[in-house]
């Protein structure tokens, strides 16, 4: 199993370690609910070094990124970040990702741990005809996420970057505890917070100092368990559950990352076709009307007919009810519509509700 540069520190803090995408990662430290609520009310620190990083450079870096993604990377000025996707010609997902504009000829792509090798093969396999160089830098990078309303207060004394100057989906380079870092106001929790990238070979001091300085303010180390409940409450996609190479960007209800006016891109004809003909199914949020938890792959029925399986499903620590995401036939994919989920042996009632399930109010 692969280990991040913080592995020993997780074990020292009592992290319960599991295998995830070939990495030994902490799934929880103090308990999923406690960790979840710490991020919603104070702060939490995540090791997300298993994520992948790919650098695209060259004269045609922008044109190349534009070809591979549905969102409009031309709108990015250096210092900005965008949520987008690597799309197949069928407008399904190779992966979802963040694109950082470093400069007019330099873009930094952050992809999912589960897909690093596949993504890099895809990226490297589509450079033909573009004057670009692509480099998989995943092994060199460590990444931490500091999330929660107190994130800025905890991080500011430890960095020379003026954090209040970094708006949501922006980044800056500077030093954190003397280590060269790229810091962006991004995350996978629905809270304010930062993602900190460093190529420093010995970044442990960033983790230990954030824990030391943050703990008196209520910061906790957070495992993959709460990472999943936090992202789902905020309806942030999980590749393999909610999106995949079998689901299109429109079916995933991610029309907002498709910018047709930007010109041609991989998958565009299928997007246009689906826009013209309408969708057959769509990803929606649901809540369970009965006790229990609807987990991924549980069968889903509309009017007695099996139509799909639960994509993501969990107990929401904040809302204290079972929530999830599911692809439903378009006629059933409307807020208020009722359907059934087979939980082990019995069918439980569920209802389509508006998403995101949680949205913070103090948006920066």
């Amino acid at each position: 199993m692969r280990k991040t540069r913080f592995n020993e520190l997780h074990k020292r803090l009592g992290g319960k370690m599991i295998e995830f995408c070939g990495w030994e990662m902490p799934v929880e430290y103090s308990g999923i609910i406690t960790e979840h609520m710490a991020v919603r009310t104070k702060a939490g620190l995540f090791d997300v070094s298993h994520m992948g990083e790919v650098l695209v450079t060259g004269k045609q870096a922008l044109a190349y990124v534009q070809w591979l993604t549905p969102n409009d990377a031309a709108r990015l000025a250096p210092g900005q970040v965008q949520y987008t996707a690597l799309m197949t010609p069928e407008s399904t997902f190779v992966d979802d990702m963040l694109v950082y504009c470093i400069g007019p000829e330099e873009y930094f792509l952050v992809v999912n741990a589960a897909n690093v090798d596949k993504d890099f093969a895809w990226i490297a396999g589509h450079t033909k005809g573009f004057d670009v160089k692509v480099e998989n830098q995943s092994d060199a990078y460590s990444q931490l996420a500091l999330q929660g309303p107190l994130a800025e207060k905890i991080l500011q004394p430890l960095t020379d970057i003026a954090l209040s100057g970094i708006k949501s989906f922006h980044w800056a380079k500077g030093k954190v505890l003397g280590k060269h870092c790229l810091v962006s106001r991004t995350g996978y929790t629905g809270e304010d917070g930062f993602e900190i990238y460093t190529m420093d070979p010995d970044p442990g001091i960033i983790w230990t100092t954030l824990i030391e300085k943050g703990t008196p303010l209520g910061l906790l180390p957070i495992g993959l368990g709460a990472r999943d409940t936090l992202r789902l409450e905020s309806k942030l996609m999980l590749y393999g559950n909610d999106i995949s190479d079998k689901t299109t960007v429109l079916e995933a209800d991610l029309k907002w990352i498709v910018k047709l006016q930007k010109g041609d891109f991989l998958g565009r004809p299928v997007v246009e076709k689906q826009l013209a003909e309408g969708l057959r199914r769509k990803l929606v949020g649901f809540e369970l009307a009965e006790p229990g938890v609807a987990r991924p792959h549980y069968p889903v029925y509309v009017k007695g007919q099996k139509v799909s399986e639960v994509a993501s499903g969990t107990f929401s620590p904040l809302l204290k009810k079972a929530i999830g995401l599911v692809y439903l036939p378009i006629e059933a994919a409307v807020v208020g519509a009722e359907f059934e989920i087979e939980i082990r042996t019995k069918k439980a009632k569920a209802k389509v509700i508006p998403t995101p399930f949680y949205k913070r109010t103090d948006k920066k």
Partner: protein, 128 residues
């Protein structure tokens, strides 16, 4: 950690015998493995259970697990407090977090269950 007067199963249930009845719960090891428990499905009082039949379903945030009857018997009581506070199993797995009380059909089935010493050895084996 594991009370000496309890018996245990490889599925991580504990059994506390009192006369011809026994309380059943899940062990501290099991609650720790499951993490935050949020919901417990309880059987109806009066239900007859065969050995190894599912008694109850315990849902935590991250997983779901069956609790099996360690011996055959009839449900005489269930822990109603778990309906509101399922995390009693996390907080006090060997006490207030009990799940059901069964009337024992055949005491010989109890004799075959692990002692605290056996169970601790069994757990050591799991960690290697």
């Amino acid at each position: 950690m594991y009370p000496n007067d309890f018996r245990y199963t490889k599925e991580h249930e504990w059994i506390k015998v009192a006369g011809d009845e026994a309380l059943i719960g899940i062990t501290d090891f099991a609650q720790h493995q499951l993490g935050d428990i949020i919901y417990v499905e309880l059987p109806p009082v009066g239900k007859e259970l065969a050995v190894r039949q599912s008694i109850s379903v315990v849902e935590s945030v991250k997983s779901v697990s069956d609790v099996y009857a360690p011996f055959s018997g009839q449900v005489v009581a269930v822990n109603d407090e778990l309906a509101q506070t399922a995390d009693l199993i996390n907080k006090d797995p060997h006490g207030k977090g009990w799940i059901v009380r069964l009337k024992i059909k055949d005491k010989k089935e109890i004799d075959g269950l692990m002692t605290a010493g056996d169970y601790e050895k069994f757990l050591e084996g799991l960690e290697h």
